[in-house]
Structure formats: C-alpha cells, structure tokens
Amino acid sequence: MIEIKNVSKWYGSFQVLKDCSTHVSKGEVVVVCGPSGSGKSTLIKCVNGLEAIQQGEILVNTTKVNDPKTNLPKLRSHVGMVFQHFELFPHLSITDNLCLAQVEVLGRGKEEAREKGLALLDRVGLKAHADKFPGQLSGGQQQRVAIARALAMGPYCMLFDEPTSALDPEMINEVLDVMVELAQEGMTMMVVTHEMGFARKVANRVIFMDQGQIIEDTTKEEFFGSPRSERAQQFLSKILHHCN
C-alpha cells in the first residue's frame, strides 16, 4: 500500500531524512516513534506529498508520489491525514467541516456528503455536536471530528502525526479508542506516536527513527521484547517511564 524506498530529504544543507526505506502493507498498522526532531513528521508528510523528497521513491497504491506528473490533490483525497493540532476549519460548523472536501473535491452531492459525514460523526460518538463550531469542542472531541473528516473521504490508508500529543491526558484515550477500532476493522495506518500502549495493542510493526534515519523496523513482538540498539533502548525506557 505504502512503499518508501531509499528516501532522502534536505532542508537547505540540513539532511532531515537519510536513506529511509520501509513499507506499510494493506491492513497493516505501523507505528513510528523516535526522539523530537528525528524526522517522523517529515517522513509521514512525504507520504502524501505535503513535503517533497529529493532522492528515492514513494509509492502509494502503485502511484508514485514524487512524480511531477502525479495528480497530488487526487492522490491526497484518498489518503487520510490527522494532525497533532487537529486543524479543523474554525470558521465552519462540524457538519460543514465534514462535508467541505467531500463536496468540493470528490464532487459528492450535499445531501450524500451530509449523510456520510453524520454517520461518521455518530461513529466517533459526537453526533450531538453536529451544529457546533470547532472552538466549542474539547481537544479530544476535535481530534475525533478530524478523524471522521478524513474517513469521510473514503481513504485507502490513514496517516496520523502525533494525534494525541496535544491533548490533556484525560482525553487521550477517547481518541486512541477510535484509532484502535479503526485498526481492528482493517484500516491501513501509519501512526507517529509515543503511545506505546496503542502500539502494543494494534501495531503490526514499530519503526524507530533517530536523526533522520530508520534505526529499527521490526515486528511489535521483537520491538517490545528482544534486545535492540542502545539508542532505541534508551528512548523506549524513557517514554515507557513517562507513560506508566
């Protein structure tokens, strides 16, 4: 589903990504973790072409993302993305947030878009808030709406960039629950997160990044069990400390 092959990227002379290769197969959940500044966000943004790469190749569903001929808006409309700071559109009601891209990008009728949006809103447990504005919802609620908004486009895979790290601790689980459910239904997901509980529960593989490199790319069982690189070991013990 997602193929990342020997990808390198520079900001000026600073190399953010160094020869990164990995993949996410259909139905797989891959968790990406690593210290701040290691390039996790950059890597995931390259997958839907929000960031350009200078070397290597990225394929999503056999479409080459870094090909100038690729219709990026079309590709992105089928790759859901959820951001750390939710990024709901504050000037639009929750319903309009859910419908906007369905109508404008996919060309769906207003009624159909609304039905689909409301069904997904119901699914994330927020049907009662359909007519409110984003500013009237808590962070956790906003993030669930953001997930519903991405799902409304009927994506073939979902990208998450630290979806819970801007949330108050008591709201983290309501968002993780939605994501776990999604994973269990077979959604293909690439998730940047430090929530190791989530990784243990649903991840197929865990990727550890440091200084722009993929240091480890292993199954969940291996990641949480066997010995690993010292850097990953240190990092893992630090965040597990934090979380438990």
């Binding site: 808006p73 404008e104 990008v105």
Partner: protein, 225 residues
C-alpha cells in the same frame, strides 16, 4: 442663519451624497478584489508575481492620493483611447473610481496579507491533505478566515476611504462636499452648508467606527473560545 436655503438645496445635496457613497462602495469592493489578488501574488512562490505586487503596493503607498486622482483624470481617457482607438470622454466619476480602487487596493493588500499570514500553516496542510488544490484552499479555507480576522481593519480602511472621497474636488466631481460647497457659495450661506456637511460626515464615520469597535469585541470573544 437661513435654514430654508438648506432645505431648498436638499435634493442636490442628496444627489451629491449618493455620488460619494456610490464612489466609496464601488471603490471598496474593487479595492478588496484587487487587494486580495495582490496579497496572493505577494505571498506566491513565483518571484516575478511577488516582486511586481510589492513594487505596486510600495509605489501606491508612497504617493499622495490627490496626485493619483489628478493623474487618472488625464490618464484613464488616454488609456481608453489607446486601447479602443477612439477618444472617449469618461468623466470625473469613472476616473476617480479607478484612482480610488487602484490606490486603496494597495492598502487592502497589506491588511489581507497580514490576515493570510496570521492563519496557522497547519490549515493549509489540512486543506491540501483533504485533496484541495491551491485555489480551493485559498477560497474555502484561508481567505474566509483571513477576512473574518481582518474585518475590523478592512472597515477602518473603508472609513478612511469614505473621508478621502472628498478629494475628488480636485477633478470637479460633484460629490457631497463639493455640492455643499457650491450651494453654500450660491446662497451665501457657506458656513452653514459646511457645518452641515461636517455633521453628515461625522455621523456616518462615527456610526461606522462604532460598528468596527463592536466587531472587534465580538471577534475577541470568538477567538477566546
């Protein structure tokens, strides 16, 4: 003082007021449309576009409005003749409208540029991630937010424009003030006419700026959410 002369002049004064308001409303609308385009040019990655827009803005913000009005009075007929091949008298209203629109566009551009830049980058990313292209992102997501945020400043600028319309005196357009002045001259009641004109300008500008303050308060509350 003779108030009857004022009542007699009322139809002419109202016509003058209509000219002033028409000029203002049309210049505001045209100025905002062109100003929005200039703002997008200034922020675009295309060096030629952003450079030409900033030269335009810098230029119009550095010369007196009175000069622009006088210029366009001569320039607009010449340009029309050059384009259509035959001389066309356009009159002071059209030339003033063009002058105000072009001049104000530079100011609106700067307000809107600040507005667009104040919208978090993540909003653009979110719109792109949903499959929107640049135009959709601007039209549906960024500009509506920028306009809301900048509404008080845009209105403020429009109030200034309203007062500046009196400068069309220079090209002999019979706007509100010019009408009041000429009527006052004819009837020999110039002080009365000028005082009354002042009262009208005051009421309109003052009411509008109260609206601005009210808007600002409402926006502050909305943002605190």
């Amino acid at each position: 003082m003779e108030f009857n002369s004022l009542i007699d002049a009322l139809p002419a004064l109202l016509e003058g007021l209509q000219v002033t308001l028409k000029l203002m409303v049309m210049a505001v609308m045209g100025g905002i449309v062109i100003g929005t385009m200039l703002a997008l040019f200034r922020l675009s990655n295309n060096r030629i576009l952003s450079l030409s827009a900033s030269v335009y803005v810098g230029y119009f913000r550095s010369i007196p409005l009175l000069l622009v009005i006088s210029w366009f009075y001569f320039l607009v007929p010449m340009i029309i003749e050059w384009m259509t091949g035959k001389p066309e008298p356009v009159g002071p209203f059209i030339s003033s409208l063009v002058a105000f629109t072009m001049f104000e566009a530079a100011y609106y551009c700067e307000i809107l540029r600040a507005g667009i830049q104040s919208i978090p980058k993540g909003q653009v990313s979110a719109a792109y991630a949903l499959g929107m292209n640049y135009r959709q992102t601007m039209r549906l997501v960024i500009l509506p937010q920028a306009f809301r945020k900048m509404a008080p400043l845009l209105l403020q600028q429009s109030i200034i424009l309203f007062q500046d319309t009196a400068l069309v005196y220079a090209v002999g357009l019979m706007d509100f003030l010019n009408t009041a002045r000429s009527r006052g001259d004819i009837t020999g009641e110039l002080p009365l006419f000028l005082l009354s004109a002042g009262a009208v300008y005051f009421v309109i500008s003052f009411t509008a700026s109260r609206v601005v303050m009210h808007l600002q308060k409402k926006l502050a509350i909305a943002q605190a959410h």
